[in-house]
Amino acid sequence: MALLDVCDLKKSFDRTQVLRGISFSMEEGETLSVIGPSGGGKTTLLRCLNFLEIPSGGKIAVKGETLFDAADPHSLSEAEIRRNRLHFGLVFQNFNLFPQYTALDNVSLALKLQAKALPDYPSRRRELNEQIDQNCEELLRRVGLGEKLRHYPHQLSGGQQQRVAIARAMALKPEVLFFDEPTSALDPELTGEVLNVIRQLAREKMTMVIVTHEMSFAEAVSDQVLFIDDGRIEEMGPPSQVMHAPQSERTRQFLRGYER
């Protein structure tokens, strides 16, 4: 069974239709890259999948469990939306770290808040929080920031901030991790360290969806590439096909812009 199933997903803002029916599915451990021209709806797709926007149509299912179905008349409650979001993680283009917390606290905050809901929290508070801190320190070490645990975001470079953001998303053990142009806000010399972390995650078989303009990275890291234009999937397939033998004229045109 597919890990993530997206079926005919649609989204309109007022009268402009931004997503015109997106369908794809992913197996566990796969990496999917999403490419396409500006304004094509890539960010909107990620925002819909993370319930930052409520889709206007279609279905989203994880491991066969339907998280969202526009045909279902009952609308999702706050709590249901929150539960749905926990299946996924999202790394933003501009990091969105919490400036008032250290790198470690950024990563551990959500887990600590979750721990508070445990029935035995009052009696095991210390132990639980220490355990969380240990796990989060380990995560930060894995993204190469073991030396920066107590640094605040403004004391970190863009690449370091984005790596904290990745660790923060990983802390909740999402089933699928989404990236929206994770290196677009970075100086060119800082993109490498972030891409390396994502490559490492791909090797560890993290299931990921990566919106990116880094074509050679997308080609190297992905199992599938999805080309989105004007709210539709124009082409989908393994990178060797989409990037080297595209069927669609639109894809060819788009890729030509990246040659040279």
Binding site: L52, E78, R82, R85, F92, F98, P99, Q100, Y152, A169
Partner: protein
């Protein structure tokens, strides 16, 4: 004589201090409530709240004091405040709280809306509830943004307390001025200025210290 004056000024200063403290205590939470009202997505709430804030900010506090104190008695034929000093003090406190809550609400609204949308969204995708996002993510950034403008309002409040005399709440200037009539001396009035200077100086130091404490992060 000096001790008599000092005693009287101290009493007046204490009254002013009470108004000051009560106003902050009441106007900060009320200001947050009004701020949320003025940002509500429901027009039936948002527009009336904005109208009230506009009226309160657009008219003198002195006028509001008079209306709140005399209004109930003259318009409704029922003086809620009673005739005594305690009633006048209550009326003055309520007028101050309401007036300052409206000013604060605009500062809070600016502070809350100044927090980038991405902060909220980062909290949301981490599965936080709305109240967790407000208290754990947004609030500290709001506080950092509002401390400087709040500082200005608080210093203004120190001086505004002198207005309560219009409904015969005996604050410090009133107590200083009465020596002009009773003893023909003016130095007590100058002396009241020292109280204001000392107190607002103290507050300026305190606010500066808070700003410095919040310097550990940047927004």
């Amino acid at each position: 004589m000096f001790l008599t004056v000092l005693n009287s000024l101290n009493q007046g200063f204490f009254k002013a201090l009470e108004i000051f403290a009560l106003t902050l205590l009441g106007a900060i939470p009320l200001g947050f409530i009004i701020a949320f009202g003025s940002m509500s997505r429901y027009r039936v709430l948002r527009y009336p709240v904005k109208l009230v804030v506009w009226i309160v900010r657009g008219t003198p506090l002195m006028l509001q004091l008079l209306i709140i104190y005399y209004g109930p008695g003259l318009l409704l034929g029922n003086n809620w405040w009673g005739g005594g000093a305690a009633g006048r003090f209550t009326a003055a406190s309520l007028a101050f709280i309401f007036n300052y809550a409206c000013y604060f609400s605009e500062i809070f609204r600016g502070g809350i809306q100044g927090v980038p949308r991405g902060q909220r969204e980062a909290g949301q995708v981490l599965g936080m509830t709305n109240s967790q996002i407000f208290f754990r993510v947004t609030l500290m950034q709001v506080i950092k943004r509002i401390v400087p403008p709040m500082g200005n309002e608080i210093i203004t409040l120190v001086k505004d307390t002198s207005l309560v005399r219009v409904i015969a709440v005996y604050e410090i200037i009133w107590n200083g001025e009465k020596f002009i009539k009773s003893s023909g001396i003016i130095w007590p009035l100058f002396f009241t200025g020292l109280y204001y200077l000392a107190f607002s100086g103290l507050l300026t130091l305190l606010l500066g210290w808070i700003e410095k404490k919040l310097d550990y992060f940047k927004v």
